[in-house]
Structure formats: structure tokens, C-alpha cells
Symmetry: C2
Subunit: 290 residues, 2 copies
């Protein structure tokens, strides 16, 4: 089984037709936003959203604005994470980072604008029952605030999390986990699933987020520069806390295998009749090499 | 007539009880957010929102979450504007800027988090008809994106606007005007006013935004450091385009007087029965000395 590239193609096609600047003078800002947004990648978050819609029996295209917004939020977070005052990364997906290509001021604003335009896209283009759309949008805001993505980045750059595995888990569950969760959960909220189904999908998404991060940490050490699109071992050089630094490479690999099995089991519980595309995404995340 | 300090007190009281960090480790991020958010000021945007609710016959307190969110967005924009890569301002409201007090990385994240938490606050706490709440939230997103606040800041720092009065107006209508507009317009949308009323209130808010900016530019030249909470003439030293640089001080003062009259006339058209608090805010904005 392989990654659902058909869903990724749909996402890429949708992202490519997005335009942000309406008035005169901000074409350059829009260009910087699209530079980062269209830099490629597996589009894991929007593809997860589309695959969740399919698992719930909906047309994947019906959640496309929300899916695209998830990728815009992810893209914004990468731009700000790469800034000199943060992780100071000059390369992203094999290309100069946004601030290297456009300057630090424009990069800060491009990130800010991607976040605003993500909410604008959802709130104007996503068709859904209004109350469900409000709940899903609120979840995305929470997932990206102090108790989600931005708070996780704070824990990371400020080394503010507790020592040991608990602290590491806290960093990752916020920094990358919450947005991956939201990619599944928000689609459940848009669909209006019942409480038990919501709980089951949440459990799957939370475990998938853990799996994603363990593999990401392993790849930072084992991947080649070319595969990663950035110098390998950069987490290590920055003294970042990773599953590899915390547990060693071999134990981290064992944790990844265990997490893969747990994620598949959680998915089977959430979608007893099977969910082909979500299964393929899970396997891809476990077995990917970049 | 004087500024409606009772409304400002209500806003301050509400802002002071906000808490952002739920999990462990992000107390420092929350502290940086509150440092900037609680630094004082006239709270013009949220007070405008409350006063608009009153003009429409609603209890001002009924739109408090939305009003507070407007101030959070404003606060986020000041934090990012002050960054070294942007305007590089070390002082804000007489205190060290957020990045001076907490470091550049924390300041970037504090801004990001204030924006996310603003949407979270609106989408979870603001009581309103769901469809109206969606429309108001969408307007806030649009007002703060590429064609609003962030785009205006881009035009400003990149000197990307057209030459002459048209370009100056474009910068300001986006950078400060759209959020001031939104403070009035979003409350109209929450209330569900008819199309003609919406248009009238929009005209008032647009003119009020112009008035605000002309007076702001004049005060940058005529105000004392102490009154402004930052060194006076800083726009001038940074080579920023202002109403004073474009037209000279005397002509700018005449423009302010004309704009004041236009704003009052637009308000009279929007609220024929009178709108005491909106009138007082308008006069305060025209006559303030800091």
C-alpha cells in the first residue's frame, strides 16, 4: 500500500489556484506566502483531512477549504520556526527559507498573513452547518495557540518543558501533535460525528501524531541531506530534545514500531469497516524515508 | 464630552482576568502576551465595539469577547511591528517593547499566540447567532490578512505603495483602518443589521479610521515623548510616509478638522437618533493629545 497521491494531487491543485492579494502593492507579500506554501511536501495534514472525510463517507473535496487552511497554518509555522531568532534554518525543503529568499520582515509578515488567510478561507469558503463550522474553527484556533502549536514551539526554543520523556512528549504533543490531531478532529466536527466516534478518531490522531514525531526524529539522524531537503542531524546540532537524544536510536526505532501498531489498532477501532486511505497514510508515516 | 472611560474600565477588567496557559511550561509565554496586552492605552478598538453595540440598542457587555479579541489582535500587531526586523522600536507605551523585555523569539511567539487566542476567544466565548458569528469572524480574518492589517504593514515596511496621497491612503486604510472598521462592522454583523445600516456604519468607521491616522501622524510630530510613550518624531526619523510628511503640518491639521466634521456627519447618518458614546469617541480621537 502506498501514500494516497491522488488526494495529494487534489490538494496541490487547490493550493495552486489560491490568490491572496486583491489590492495594489501586496503582490510581493502574496509571492512570499506562495513560495513557502507551494514548496511541495507530502501535504500530510490536508491529505489526512480529506482521508478522514472519505472514512466518514463524505466526498473528500467537500472539506478542501479546511484542508488547505491546515496546510497554510503548517506553512506559516515553518516560516516562523526558521527565522534567525528561532531555529535559524536557512534551508527548507531543499530551497532557501522564506526569510533568506525575501528578508526577515517579509517572512514574519508572510507567516502572519498565511494564518489570517487560513481562517478567512475556512470562514468564507468551507460549506458546513454553521454550528459545526464554528466548532471546527474553534478547535483549529485552540490547536494553534498557547496550548497547541505556538506553545509547543515556545517549549522547544525556550527549553521550558520538564525533564525526561514526559517533557519531550509535552513538547511534541503541542508543537506537531495538535495540528495533526486537528486535521482529523476538525473534519469529524464538520461532519458532526457522535461523541464516541469523536473520541475514537481523537485517539487514532493522537497516536498518529506520536508516530509522526518519533519517525521524524529518527530521520533527522538517518536521512541524507538530499532526502530531507535540509542538512541531516540539524536537531542534534541545535541540542534539540528528540526521541533519539532521549532514548538512543535503537530504542527509538522500537518505539516507532510499537507506535505504528498502536496507531493501526486505534484506527481499526475508529473505523471498524476499514478506512483504506487513513491506513495508507499511517503506514506511509511509519515507513517513509524523508 | 469626554472619552467613555466606563467602557474602557469594563474592557480592562475583562482583559485582566484572561488566562492563556493551561498546560505546564508555557506560563512564560502567557506572561509575555499579558505584558503587552495589559500595557494600557485607550483601548479604542474594543471601546468602539462596545459603543457600537450600545448604539444598536444592545448591552455593551454582550460583545465583550469580540471586543477583547480586537485588542488582542491590535496588541499582536504592535509586538510584531516593533521587532528589530520591522520598525525596530525599543519602547512601547513607555515600557520596553516585548522583544526587549522577553527576547525576539518569545516576542514573535507571543504575537502569534495572541492572534490564535483572539480567534479562540471569539469562537468559543462570543454568544451570537452562529451564522452572524461566522460572518463577523470572517470579517476579522479579512481585516487582518493580506488585504488588511498585515498587508498594510507590508506596504509600510517595504515602501511598496504608490507615490502620493493615494498610496498613503492605501497604506493607512489597510494598516490601521481595516481593524478600526472591523471594530464597528463586526458588531453590526453580530447584531444582524440590515444592508443600508451596515453601509452607513461602514462609512462612519472608514472616515473615523482616516481621522485617527491623520491625528496620529500629527501627534508623532507635536507630542512630547512622555505623552506618546515613545520618542516623538520617530516616524519622521524612520522616513515613514505620514500625512505630515506628505502635506506639511498646517495642511495636515486642516485635513484633520475636515475629517472630524465628515466623521461626525457620517455618524449622524448611521445613528439618526444619536449615539452618545460613539460621538464621544470620535471627538476624543480628533482632540486627543497623545
Amino acid at each position: 500500500m502506498s501514500y494516497p497521491d491522488d488526494l495529494r494531487d487534489q490538494v496541490d491543485e487547490y493550493l495552486q489556484q489560491l490568490r491572496f492579494s486583491e489590492g495594489p502593492g501586496t503582490e510581493g507579500l502574496s509571492e512570499a506566502m506562495l513560495y513557502s506554501l507551494l514548496a511541495g511536501g507530502k501535504r500530510i495534514r490536508p491529505v489526512l483531512a480529506l482521508a478522514t472525510a472519505a472514512a466518514l463517507g463524505d466526498d473528500p473535496a467537500s472539506v478542501m477549504p479546511f484542508a488547505a487552511a491546515l496546510e497554510m497554518v503548517h506553512s506559516y509555522s515553518l516560516i516562523h520556526d526558521d527565522l534567525p531568532a528561532m531555529d535559524d534554518d536557512d534551508l527548507r525543503r531543499g530551497k532557501p527559507s522564506c526569510h533568506v529568499a525575501f528578508g526577515e520582515d517579509v517572512a514574519i509578515l508572510a507567516g502572519d498573513a498565511l494564518y489570517a488567510e487560513a481562517f478567512r478561507l475556512i470562514l468564507t469558503e468551507q460549506r458546513a452547518d454553521p454550528l459545526r463550522l464554528l466548532r471546527a474553527s474553534a478547535e483549529l484556533a485552540a490547536a494553534t495557540g498557547v496550548n497547541g502549536m505556538v506553545g509547543g514551539q515556545y517549549l522547544d526554543v525556550e527549553a521550558a518543558a520538564a525533564e525526561g520523556p514526559e517533557g519531550l512528549r509535552e513538547i511534541h504533543s503541542r508543537k506537531t501533535g495538535r495540528l495533526i490531531n486537528a486535521s482529523v478532529e476538525c473534519v469529524c466536527l464538520l461532519h458532526g460525528v457522535g461523541e464516541q466516534d469523536l473520541l475514537n478518531y481523537r485517539t487514532f490522531a493522537a497516536e498518529l501524531g506520536v508516530l509522526f514525531q518519533i519517525v521524524d526524529d529518527i530521520l533527522d539522524v538517518t536521512g541524507s541531506d538530499e532526502e530531507l531537503g535540509k542538512p541531516s542531524g540539524s536537531d542534534e546540532r541545535q541540542g534539540k530534545r528528540t526521541y533519539v537524544s532521549e532514548f538512543g536510536l535503537e530504542h527509538a526505532k522500537a518505539l516507532a514500531d510499537a507506535s505504528h501498531a498502536k496507531t493501526r489498532a486505534a484506527l481499526a477501532a475508529a473505523a471498524p469497516a476499514g478506512a483504506d486511505q487513513l491506513e495508507r497514510i499511517t503506514d506511509f508515516i511509519a515507513e517513509r524515508e524523508s
